[in-house]
């Protein structure tokens, strides 16, 4: 009896789960396999391509020694961290103002901020290039540090506003009675109670910065200023030869940080991702 139901469970759950996992993870497996093969083994049809016959680190070595991968890594990290910090600061302010304070235009701001969230970079990149040019920011970190928050602030503010609203008003009111100022309340009471919300907003912002492509492609043209996604796609793909091994190594290494952060904070990311849908 027990064995029968176990078998049934395996058939109904674990078999499809394995199929899904293979389907969803195959590209990463493939990147890994290619990145550890010597070039001659990549460019052959005689070997089974799904397995590494002769293991090598030469692609990774090439990536670190002969390309600007380390600069790309540094640029991506720096831009993501500063941009995220800036966005979270602005979003905490906006989120708190919208959640707790009445001011001229506060009702309409909430919807406005949400609609702005749905404005994609693709809609703005042509005029944005003119703006960045006029400000003389091409090929500087500032070009991305200042433009990324426009994609991050709307959602992060909205997420944090929802979070602040769950904190009982009474706590704040009694603190006001005791003579605390609003700013003191925000820093000493609201923020410590909102750590999970701030964490999910931070992870959301950081991943989005790390993954951004279009603005980085347009604003950063010199090789050493690129981010990992743009550098990998535009500097490792040269017209005549495809360095598949180091390309895949770079794609894999560029994916690791977000995957790593995500696996640590999976709970917060998921709650952030679904907050809109579930709470909405």
């Amino acid at each position: 009896m027990m064995v029968g139901s176990d078998k049934q469970k395996a058939l109904q759950i674990y078999v499809p789960l394995v199929v899904y996992t293979l389907l969803l993870l195959f590209p990463f497996y493939w990147m890994g396999v290619v990145s550890f093969k010597p070039t001659s083994d990549i460019f052959t049809l005689d070997l089974n391509p799904f397995w590494v016959q002769r293991f090598t680190f030469e692609n990774y070595q090439y990536l670190f020694e002969n390309t600007e991968f380390i600069s790309w890594m540094w640029n991506t990290m720096l831009i993501a961290v500063v941009s995220t910090a800036l966005s979270i600061f602005c979003s905490i302010c906006i989120g708190y103002a919208l959640a707790r304070l009445k001011f001229p235009g506060s009702d309409f701001m909430g919807i406005g901020i949400f609609l702005v969230y749905l404005v994609p970079p693709t809609l703005l990149f042509i005029p944005m290039a003119e703006v960045i040019g006029a400000l003389n920011l091409f090929n500087t970190h500032w070009a991305l540090i200042l433009t990324y928050p426009t994609q991050l602030i709307p959602f992060a503010s909205w997420l944090l506003m929802g979070y602040f609203l769950t904190i009982p008003k009474e706590i704040e009111e009694s603190a006001l009675m005791d003579g605390c100022s609003r700013i003191q309340i925000l820093i000493r009471i609201v923020l410590p109670l909102s750590v999970p919300g701030i964490l999910s907003a931070t992870i959301f912002c950081f991943t989005l910065c790390w993954n951004e492509f279009l603005y980085a492609l347009i604003f950063m043209s010199s090789g050493d200023m690129k981010t990992i996604p743009v550098g990998t796609v535009s500097d490792l793909i040269k017209a005549d030869t495809l360095f598949w091994g180091s390309l895949m190594a770079s794609a894999l290494l560029g994916s690791v940080p977000v995957a790593f952060i995500y696996s640590f904070f999976v709970k917060y990311y998921v709650s952030g991702l679904t907050a809109s849908a579930v709470k909405g």
């Binding site: 600061f89 602005c90 001229p104 042509i126 279009l214 796609v233 598949w244 679904t274 849908a277």
Partner: protein, 298 residues
């Protein structure tokens, strides 16, 4: 009494000024790098500006010219297919994933983390993986199918329009499955178990319970997730830029990649701005539906 009312008046006063003050840093950034470029884009689309050359006002000619541009027709059609036709596939496969993950599973946390990878990692980089999987010579799919005797020669995945569009859509679906899966899973876990128990007592089988109990409960979530997915993929860029750059022969462009090509390779900034602004009414349409839907469910 008196002092309390004076204090509260002072406080109200401070509240509105503090509110405005707190809004300022974010609003300034949004004004300079979002609102201003938006209006600048509208202006540019009404001029014949080229890179390095100030343009002149030409009214709606860019928009009119695009209506007669066959590549633009193809681009509009591709964008629709890319954003809309893929949604049912993402939804069904995401729902399947969510139904599986909703069971008691061993190692469910690491599995969930791994399964999210297509959605989490930079699309440009995962698309690069697919780019190699679709290589005309060294594709592992072609290799496997030849080994198994299904085909005689390699599939030219990205060199033929129909196969290329299918391949692009597949990568888009692949990336979207985890997003739908995890969102729907959150909805499934919010379905009260009593509803299922009651239905089971009433004699409903598993399938009937799914149709009559589960589906109505997650309908709203499914709608919101689909609309978000449409809005995001409609305005996509990197996936197609990496896989085909709009080729072969400009047949796989979507709005974003076509505007990039016209604006940054063709240097016709005014025309490119018009291409991106053709997206605006469609994006606005889906955004308004989304907003209404979220208010209704709220």
């Amino acid at each position: 009494m008196n002092s309390v009312s004076i204090q509260s008046e002072k406080f109200l006063d401070r509240e509105s000024s503090l509110g405005v003050l707190l809004m300022l840093p974010g609003l300034i950034l949004l004004a300079v790098f979002l609102a201003y470029p938006f209006f600048l884009g509208i202006w540019l689309s009404l001029t014949d500006t080229r890179i390095g050359m100030p343009g002149e006002f030409i009214g709606l000619w860019n928009y009119v010219d695009l209506l007669e541009d066959e590549i633009f027709h193809q681009t509009a059609l591709n964008t629709m297919v890319y954003a809309l036709v893929t949604v049912p596939f993402k939804a069904v496969m995401g729902l399947g994933l969510a139904l599986i993950l909703n069971n008691q599973i061993r190692f469910s946390n690491p599995i969930r983390a791994f399964i999210m990878l297509p959605w989490i990692v930079p699309t440009a980089l995962s698309s690069l993986g697919w780019f190699m999987i679709f290589d005309p010579v060294f594709s592992p799919i072609s290799w496997l199918m030849i080994e198994m005797g299904f085909i005689d020669s390699n599939i030219n995945f990205l060199g033929d329009q129909l196969i290329a569009v299918t391949a692009i859509c597949w990568v888009n679906i692949w990336r979207g499955i985890p997003f739908f899966g995890i969102s729907i899973l959150a909805g499934l876990q919010a379905v009260p178990p009593e509803l299922h128990e009651q239905a089971a007592i009433d004699g409903a089988n598993k399938f009937q319970r799914f149709i009559n109990v589960t589906l109505p409960q997650i309908k709203g979530l499914l709608m919101i997730t689909s609309l978000l997915s449409i809005i995001w993929t409609f305005a996509d860029f990197q996936l197609i830029y990496v896989l085909t750059k709009g080729g072969p022969a400009n047949q796989t462009h979507i709005f974003g990649t076509y505007a990039y090509q016209i604006g940054l390779f063709g240097t016709e900034i005014g025309m490119a701005a018009a291409i991106t602004l053709y997206m605006f009414p469609i994006l606005a349409f889906f955004s308004i539906i989304l907003l209404r839907y979220m208010r209704k469910t709220a």
